[in-house]
């Protein structure tokens, strides 16, 4: 029964993807992308990936749509050009699709317990999570502790991308991130629309609270810094949409956001260095407390906090950079 539901969702995914590519209005395409992400999140959930589903729903359906709309507002809503070399592209794409589908016949079937992917480190992580780290969520354990290096790298990629966006969008016009505060007229946002304003105002504190819950409950249930960062950022973005950029920047000035971007990544790195100073390896949390398992708990909470802070900071900086660009 579940697999039939999965096939139904997959069919919807393909239809949505086709509609996105065919649509000539970029606005419609972006909104469809949000639906596409939500369907993808439902699929991830069916495939037992609760953490990934949460991330995809918060980022793909929420923040990504807002960023694309922000870029559209600066560029234009309609495609003007017609596809070049359409037949050639269609030919290449169809042949490759058939080749990849042909290749899938060699793949193990969905859910096959003897598949190679289920034989190596996967079972080891599940077994050792209870023994070495003793938190229920194996995804958080692998993310924070077993593969802490990977996650540190990812956080720095997010950090670098955020710096890159600020750098690109502050070029030439002499605009500096600190100046955003000054350039806005007070008449902004949806303040004059009663329904979005009332409903939005009621939702914002709960979204924020849910973000904090996801952040600090990530050891026990689906959640963690990446998801929480996106959820907290989306609550501030909703505030900015309703009340205007100016109010949002008064609440969380650009200077603070820049400190968040760097501070989260630094906190993560500092936890690693603290492990070294206490006589362990880089990112070895066992030495952070007298009991290795308590040390692991402290380490994971701290690095997840670092991840959450950086992700919130980067997403909000990027949002404000796009929003401010139109006003300069």
């Amino acid at each position: 029964m579940i697999i039939l539901f999965g096939v139904f969702l997959l069919a919807l995914l393909v239809i949505t993807a086709l509609a996105i590519v065919r649509s000539e209005s970029l606005f419609a395409a972006v909104i469809l992308t949000g639906i596409f992400s939500l369907l993808m999140a439902a699929n991830f959930f069916l495939l037992d990936a609760a953490d990934v589903a949460l991330t995809e729903a918060a980022i793909g359906a929420g923040i990504s749509t807002v960023l694309f709309l922000g870029a559209l507002a600066l560029t234009g809503e309609h495609e003007r050009g017609i596809a070049t070399n359409r037949l050639l592209a269609l030919g290449v794409v169809s042949i490759t699709t058939l080749l990849v589908i042909y290749a899938t016949f060699d793949k193990p079937r969905l859910g096959d317990p003897d598949a190679p992917v289920q034989q190596h480190v996967g079972p080891w992580y599940l077994e050792k999570t209870a023994e070495l780290i003793d938190i229920p969520n194996a995804v958080t354990a692998v993310l924070g502790s077993f593969r802490g290096y990977d996650t540190l790298g990812e956080v720095f990629v997010v950090f670098t991308a955020g710096i890159g966006v600020l750098f690109l969008l502050s070029a030439r016009t002499g605009w500096r991130p600190e100046d955003i505060e000054g350039v806005h007229a007070p008449e902004q946002g949806l303040r004059h629309y009663l329904v979005p304003r009332v409903v939005g105002r009621m939702l914002i504190p709960f979204i924020f609270l849910f973000g904090l819950y996801v952040q600090f409950h990530g050891d026990y249930g689906p959640g963690g810094g990446f998801q929480a960062g996106a959820i907290v950022a989306s609550s501030v973005i909703l505030y900015a949409l309703l009340e205007g950029e100016k109010r949002a920047l008064e609440a969380l000035p650009m200077r603070v956001l820049q400190w968040l971007v760097a501070g989260g990544a630094l906190l993560y790195g500092a936890v690693g260095v603290a492990g070294m100073l206490l006589g362990g390896n880089f990112l070895d949390y066992s030495v952070l407390a007298s009991d290795p398992i308590a040390g692991q708990h402290i380490g994971i909470i701290l690095i997840e906090l670092g991840v959450g802070i950086t992700v919130t900071g980067v997403l909000l900086c990027v949002f404000h950079a796009f929003a401010a660009r139109g006003k300069v």
């Binding site: 697999i3 999965g6 993807a17 590519v21 970029l26 992308t33 596409f36 993808m40 991830f44 495939l47 037992d48 990936a49 953490d51 991330t55 980022i59 793909g60 990504s64 694309f68 922000g70 870029a71 600066l74 560029t75 495609e79 003007r80 050009g81 017609i82 596809a83 070049t84 592209a89 290449v92 794409v93 490759t96 699709t97 990849v100 589908i101 899938t104 793949k107 079937r109 969905l110 096959d112 317990p113 289920q118 599940l126 969520n137 194996a138 995804v139 354990a141 692998v142 993310l143 593969r147 990629v157 991308a161 955020g162 890159g164 690109l168 969008l169 249930g221 990446f226 998801q227 992700v311």
Partner: protein, 116 residues
């Protein structure tokens, strides 16, 4: 039933190529970026599909459950989603700058301006 287990992989192939088509055939730069994110989502689907195990449940340990899906692909994809949005934002930043310098985000118009 045997073939039903492969449907996820077929959809992966189809979504991958729908995204790729948008990247190579559509002249609009934002459309290309949307195509790239569909391409990316297809890869996410492939990874998560591989981690699923029959009769398993989400890898959150609890009493009385012995079979869990593989947590490793989930970890990789979870971080990849966040990195994906950051790089997409960087791409959008570049598109906005191109629009300011060239007055267009259509590939052929930009190339025309370059030839002048």
């Amino acid at each position: 039933m045997e073939l039903l287990g492969l449907v996820y992989y077929w959809v992966f192939a189809i979504l991958l190529m729908i995204g790729f088509y948008a990247v190579i055939a559509k002249p609009n730069l934002i459309k290309k970026l949307i195509g790239l994110s569909i391409f990316q989502a297809a890869v996410f689907l492939l990874y998560i599909t591989m981690g699923k195990i029959d009769g398993g449940t989400a890898p959150i340990l609890q009493d009385g459950v012995t079979l869990y899906s593989n947590p490793l692909p989930q970890v990789l994809i979870l971080t990849a989603i966040v990195v994906g949005i950051s790089t997409t934002a960087l791409g959008l930043g570049i598109v906005v700058r191109i629009n300011e310098e060239y007055g267009s985000i259509e590939e052929h118009e930009i190339q025309e301006r370059d030839r002048q």
